[in-house]
Amino acid sequence: MTSDGPTTPDPVEQDDRLLDAISRGAPPPPDHPADDPIAALLTGWHADVLARSQHLESTLQLTPVGPAAHDAPASPSTVAAAPIHGTAARRDRSARSPGDDLTRRLRWRPRHKAYTGAMLALVTITSGVWLGAARAQPGELMWPVTRLVHADRAEALITEREIVRTLDQVRQDLASGQHADARYHLERAAALLDAINDHETAVRLRNDIEQLRQQLPAPAPEAPTSPSAPDAYVPTDLPAPSLTVPATPAATQPTGTDPEPAADTSIQSPPALPSAEPTDLPRPTRPARPNVQPTAPQPQPSAARTSTAETDVHQQAPPARPPRPRQG
């Protein structure tokens, strides 16, 4: 082809030869125009690529997975290390070393959190139930728990309520003039007071009881004066107490402590009533106390009071004063 004529060389052939020469690493062919700006550029580029490639190949000793040993025995040890030295190894290292304990902490946190939350919830619920039970009043939601957990407190609370209710009853009785009932309820409250351990409450209730006691028409010394005054309005209420009363006279009369049966029988004008008596609720408990009296009759000062309760019963029923001479 060069024989075609050195005068007019085929530019395509010329370039092909130039590229052949450059890729071989040889200088451009002698017949190539010296002023070609590309020749030097391409030569330099080719050399550069070759240099870089050789540098890369020296560091990058690639071998196939298994059988490379007998083909490239020169550097078997660098084989595995070198390829990994790239981005993969860097990523691996940076992922593990700096944030190792961080990831562990992150891994542990959820379980830890759940555990802590469960414990907190348990403590909160327990203390809430405990506190609620400690302050529960009878009839409230927590009351059963209170009876279970704070048995003594529950007992005291019930007793206190009972006393308060009894005292209310006493006040009602006082207001309605049923002094005998009031006295009886008052005694019952005083007896219940012993079961209260809380000093403050006990003192308060005792004061209440004392107060109510003073409101009671003390029958002993000033009986002639005081009972007469309130009795002015009593008669309207009379039928009820008089109906209920007979139970006690019936119980007391046979014991025969009173020497005047005439007056009593005159009071118990309705004789058929005792049969109707039992239906009345509060009374059945009552005889227990009057029954006690005969066993310890007059000598005790406290018995004086209980006896007055009995005598009051007689006082209320009739405006007459048969008991008075007995006491005096």
Partner: protein, 190 residues
């Protein structure tokens, strides 16, 4: 340029370890040179010519059992893989502008010093700029012909062209480069 023997390639495809090693030894320089020639300027994104060459070799290894000799030469097969890998990296580098900072290596740096690197980088930058202005086929022909070191016939088999077409293409590429280089040179030295 040394080309893998078709018989060796056939044995490698069948799974002969020795043949596989031989094939890999032969295609490794091709992969490295092609990657360097195409990606020498891309150092960002963590994807360097080194990584790409390695990926090309691995991909060839993985794809080797699937290679069937259907008249298409093995070099074309390798070139297809390499071209695709490089294109992937170029796309990713264009998309990803972040620059990852690795740990400071505690080993001596054997790469050329800053002066030489500046010079070569200048040369590289210049030529890559010029190559980028060429049509894709012309650029590939020049890269395979010069950087990989293929003959016109080999380039023809790889790219599926006749040798004459390759010669014509490279002539056109060089002509275009000359005009471009003349322009840039006059720009630089008026």
């Amino acid at each position: 340029m040394e080309v893998p023997d078709p018989a060796v390639v056939r044995r490698a495809v069948d799974g002969d370890p020795a043949a596989v090693a031989q094939v890999l030894t032969l295609i490794r320089p091709i992969a490295v040179r092609y990657s360097v020639a195409r990606l020498g300027h891309i150092g960002v994104g963590g994807a360097t010519a080194e990584d790409v060459a390695q990926e090309v070799c691995l991909a060839v290894l993985r794809a080797l059992p699937r290679f069937t000799d259907q008249g298409r030469p093995f070099l074309a097969f390798v070139y297809g893989i390499a071209a695709r890998k490089v294109a992937d990296v170029c796309r990713a580098a264009r998309r990803d502008r972040s620059d990852s900072v690795a740990d400071v290596p505690d080993a001596p740096d054997l790469t050329p010093g800053p002066e030489l690197r500046a010079l070569t980088a200048d040369l590289f930058a210049q030529l890559v700029r010029l190559l980028a202005q060429l049509p894709a086929t012309h650029r590939e022909v020049l890269v395979l012909r010069l950087a990989v070191g293929m003959t016109a016939d080999e380039v023809g088999t790889v790219l599926g062209m006749t040798a004459g077409a390759v010669r014509l293409a490279q002539h056109r590429a060089l002509t275009r480069l000359r005009t471009l280089a003349g322009d840039t040179l006059t720009e630089v030295n008026p």
